[in-house]
């Protein structure tokens, strides 16, 4: 009766209508609006300039901007910064800011992807236990493995830990039967998190010699960031971003639930596995260089949802950009607000994120399954 090529309603072929049939003013599908993209890029630039200019030594923002342009190949400009100031900029602050961008982008993107894949507004790399898993992976490698000379192996160990953790959380969260409520999954995540942290503490107790090495990493290492760290994370971040961003329409389809998504021709489980693996890879990459920084995956995507609506087609790219800007600004706060001593960045994000989490908990409706 109908060809596999399909047909539109009223027996027309879907392609038989010309684009001209639509009024120029007719409704556009949900997607990334240029004005929001522009806002995200501008806040990203503002965050970068602020992150580079402010600190124990103040640099003129205009000079910072010119010095950045000077770094571009083929551009030669005189920023007016002294040699010492230029060194502070490119050797100390720039790697830290770039790493902050990558970590923030990954944590926010992973949070949004987990929320879509689990259809759970409370999902977050930390609350699902993924970050703890990645942490245990790194600790185990430092403690049991040989030297950390093989820096490239750190994200891989974190990734292995992250995947084990998310699988464990998923299995435990589903153990209650078909009633897979948002809270059940998060409770499972909390349990997995505590368990993995306990294992980590045990490992540390047994290997006191590596204690300092692990703790300096645990408390967040953006402060000691160098270009090496950036190079270690960058490939993982790129792979994660490409996979997750390319699936943004699928995440919109998944919002109607597995049964209906299947009737629309999707393979929901396959999409979900791929997204969870990609988000865990991004989380692992972030954790392996920055230690444990919580709540970014809750704060950023939910704020964007409030502003631009629920479609993942705008949510994912905006989470990436605003997440990057957010973490750079949070890091700026962490190193300037406390006077001489830096506040760990995870403390700042938790300070902002915990009240936000309560807000989401109170306003999010129960997800139907």
């Amino acid at each position: 009766m109908i060809s596999p090529a399909g047909r539109g309603p009223a027996g027309r072929k879907p392609g038989s209508r010309q684009p001209a049939d639509r009024d120029p003013g007719s409704r556009k599908p949900a997607g990334l609006r240029p004005v929001w993209l522009a806002a995200a890029v501008l806040s990203l630039l503002a965050a970068v300039i602020a992150g580079l200019a402010l600190g124990s030594v103040r640099l003129p923002p205009a000079g910072v901007a010119v010095e950045l342009l000077d770094l571009l190949p083929g551009v030669h400009l005189n920023s007016g910064l002294s040699e010492r100031e230029a060194a502070i900029l490119t050797e100390l602050r720039l790697p830290r800011v770039v790493l902050g961008l990558l970590v923030g982008a990954m944590l926010a993107l992973a949070g949004a992807a987990y929320q879509g894949a689990f259809r759970n507004p409370l999902a977050d790399p930390h609350l699902l236990g993924v970050a703890a898993g990645a942490g245990l992976g790194v600790t185990a490698m430092i403690v049991l493995g040989a030297e950390v000379t093989a820096q490239g192996a750190v994200p891989a160990a974190a990734f292995a830990g992250a995947l084990c953790a998310v699988a464990l959380t998923w299995l435990l969260g589903a153990a209650g039967g078909r009633d897979r409520s948002p809270a059940a999954l998060i409770l499972a995540g909390v349990a997995v998190s505590s368990f993995l942290s306990a294992v980590q503490t045990y490992l540390l107790q047994r290997h006191v010699d590596s204690l300092q090495q692990v703790y300096s990493w645990l408390l967040g290492r953006l402060g000691t960031a160098g270009w090496r760290d950036v190079l270690v994370v960058l490939p993982y971040a790129l792979v994660t971003a490409v996979i997750v961003l390319s699936r943004r329409r699928e995440l919109d389809v998944l919002t109607v639930g597995d049964a209906e998504a299947r009737s629309l021709g999707l393979h929901p489980q396959r999409s979900r596995y791929l997204l969870i693996i990609a988000a865990s890879l991004g989380t692992a990459a972030a954790v392996s260089v920055s230690g444990l920084i919580g709540f970014v995956g809750i704060i950023v995507p939910h704020t964007i949802r409030l502003l631009t609506g629920p479609s993942y087609r705008s949510l994912l790219p905006l989470s990436l950009l605003f997440g990057a800007a957010f973490l750079v600004l949070t890091d700026l706060l962490a190193r300037t607000a406390g006077g001489a001593a830096e506040i760990p960045i995870g403390v700042v994000t938790a300070f902002l994120g915990a009240p936000f989490f309560i807000l989401v908990l109170r306003t999010s409706r129960a997800v139907q399954t």
């Binding site: 047909r7 539109g8 879907p14 209508r17 919109d252 109607v256 009737s263 949802r305």
Partner: protein, 254 residues
């Protein structure tokens, strides 16, 4: 066109649908009735290719379990019993989800897809709602939007699981008249499950009565909706009166 032979579905090892033979001709409307737990929804899901089964199910002559899932979604559209209403989603975007089987996995909607959504919304008098959030619509309006998404799939076969269970009688009639009109205009083949026997009989060309997963009666509404058959399988006393469009079934206190 739908044809099943010895369709059997097991859920957790228990046979829920057994040896169902069903034949729905092109352009025909067949409604499955039966008491709660008779296996109506399960049979519908299996026919839509959403559940594993044994026996055969052919849609337009092709075994449904051998169709690629995207081809299947172009051949058969399902409106489930209580569709999920994604928070915050606009009606237009919801209807566009129906175009998923035509959009490359990493692609986006073409102008043609947008035009189909426009056309379906207009046909169902939903154009003024296009920019509204789905959750703000009333039950009857939502049911029309669910139907619109299914129509946007451009499939010749429409499976409706209890399409009117959430509606008052006025909106029940409105939605079923709409389905009937679309069936005629677009040559759709309709397979539905329903609880209200009188309404079911008024709209269906043929009916199928399932009890404990098996077909116990089939035929024109007047052949299935008889006092004896209903008394036996629903354990209810009813009076059946001839009506203009089919038998009128009235439950009577014993």
């Amino acid at each position: 066109m739908i044809k099943t032979e010895a369709l059997t579905v097991r859920l957790d090892g228990t046979p829920v649908v057994q040896d169902v033979d069903l034949d729905v001709a092109e352009g025909e409307w067949v409604t499955v009735i039966g008491p709660n737990g008779a296996g109506k929804s399960t049979a519908l899901r299996a026919i839509g290719g959403l559940l594993p089964f044994s026996g055969t199910v052919r849609l337009n002559g092709v075994p449904v379990d051998r169709m690629h899932r995207r081809d299947r979604a172009r051949a058969v559209a399902t409106v489930v019993q209580s569709p999920v209403v994604p928070p915050g989603m606009l009606v237009f975007d919801y209807v566009l989800l129906g175009r998923t089987p035509y959009i490359a996995p990493l692609g986006r909607e073409s102008e043609a897809d947008l035009a189909v959504a426009d056309e379906v919304l207009a046909a169902l008098d939903l154009a003024p709602f296009a920019g509204r959030r789905l959750e703000t619509l009333s039950g009857g309006e939502r049911q029309r939007v669910f139907l619109a998404r299914a129509l946007a799939q451009g499939a010749g076969i429409l499976l409706l699981d209890e399409p009117t269970s959430a509606l008052d009688i006025g909106h029940q009639q409105e939605v079923l008249e709409l389905v009937d009109r679309l069936r005629t205009e677009r040559g759709l083949t309709v397979l539905a499950t329903m609880h209200d026997l009188t309404t079911a009989g008024e709209y269906a060309d043929r009916m199928l009565l399932l009890a404990a997963g098996r077909v116990v009666a089939a035929g024109r509404p007047a052949q299935v909706l008889t006092e004896e058959i209903l008394a036996e399988h629903y354990r209810v006393k009813v009076r059946v009166i001839a009506g203009d469009h089919g038998p009128l079934v009235l439950p009577i206190r014993t």
